[in-house]
Symmetry: D2
Subunit: 152 residues, 4 copies
């Protein structure tokens, strides 16, 4: 993630939520604790999903369970209290039975971290293929590509 | 991580700490929340480091700051309250100015998750090479290799 | 607290901060966890104090340490995700070497909880009298009295 | 609470659980955060209740919901990482439709805090009287009285 400059650009994320940092998010080093940062990615992801269900009635009708299968976080800079944190969220990849959410945290105008979260689509008997309507909906919320890629 | 069966074996980890799961670690799904799981990896890593400083006086004399640069977590199974969780910790790789900690969570005899944490060694002017004594000490706490590898 | 209807009126609190509720603030019952509610009172109190230091330069010059000696919380109604929570904060009482902060949580237009927090003023040798400037400053941020009391 | 020396004596509590303190329980002051302390009281209370259901089959058959109506905490001393914390729990009072749990935190042999938690018994239409079997069971787990009181 950290090698891709697009990921540090807030314009790349189709969804964003701004959240208060809390005193309790700091650890003994007086900056945003690493685990507390994970809480911001969780919150951004859940708000993005809630927003998706409101905007996309066909998607909202689907009944399935998603499980977090993998998370990866790049810590780029320290977060500082009490400045609010904006979480940018979008779809980073769509697989057969899972998809990848790409996220970034912004504080005071700079990107302080990046995350990728793999969500697995689980049916009665374990991993199950993503329904077509889910795939089509998610494809409308992809992280914005670079101008060069758009041209390509 | 998840593709390497050694990582799911508690015997591979040179350090382990057993911690109580708390009611507050559950989320609305009644299982160990993903972010709460990250708290267990944090705790395991810090206890491993404290243990290292007690066992290794030359390492303990070193003055440097470590920053979490990257974390990756594989979620393998749900964690359940109120069973205690054992965190296994060891060194997964030693680089020039950073090293990688490998961790696993075990509950009720099975591995429920794996984590890799990259810690960057930071001096006055940013990333700095790991001192020889640090490299040598860490090398004594590597994740145990497979028997075949030992033979190789 | 709960018997005093003034305490449930947001207009009684000279300071207020609105904070996002987080998914992680819920417990297995899908409502605001009791301990998570305590986090909101902590955040409100700290933001009130920070605001005080900005508004009151003479108070801000004072050097002293405050310790939380006692907290009491009344839980009046369940809090629900994802509605923001407003914390009202004011001074509920000024003692010799401590003072009492009164707080309330409001969500969706109703009061869901009340808290009293006793902060002890600690000097080098334990509890120490509040300096005159601290007492005078705090007296300007008292919870608003009832109309009858104002008349009295 | 803090004026009653019995409450600081671990022998007074019929139930106790020892829990690891976590690095993340510290705040910027490097001691046990006030809200994190509330997490220990919550955990102690829930483990006490689980233990009660195992020991008391007649109590365990009862179906009712308990809601936390009020908590009060006295902070007596700072808690320090990484020493384990023992939570003592017992019944401090039994009312008509609620009861009071008394708790204490002990670390390194001293009492660092006390809590009282009022749990309200809630039926279909709001507060409901505690069934006789609940009252009788709880009465067997009262905080131990002083020897003088026993004699009285």
């Amino acid at each position: 993630m950290r090698k891709d400059p697009r990921r540090r650009d807030s314009a790349a994320y189709p969804f964003a939520a701004t959240l208060e940092m809390r005193y309790g998010d700091m650890d003994v080093w007086r900056h945003l604790n690493n685990v507390a940062a994970a809480r911001f990615y969780e919150e951004g992801r859940i708000r993005f999903m809630d927003d998706l269900r409101k905007r996309e009635p066909d998607y909202a009708k689907q009944r399935f369970r998603l499980m977090v299968a993998h998370t990866a976080i790049d810590y780029l800079a320290e977060g500082h209290y009490p400045h609010p944190i904006t979480v940018g969220v979008g779809i980073a990849g769509i697989g057969n039975s899972s998809y990848r959410v790409g996220e970034a945290l912004f504080q005071q105008g700079r990107c302080i971290g990046l995350a990728d979260v793999v969500l697995a689509h689980v049916g009665e008997d374990g991993p199950a293929p993503l329904p077509a309507v889910v795939r089509e909906t998610l494809a409308r919320y992809l992280l914005a590509p670079l101008p060069e890629e758009r041209a390509g």
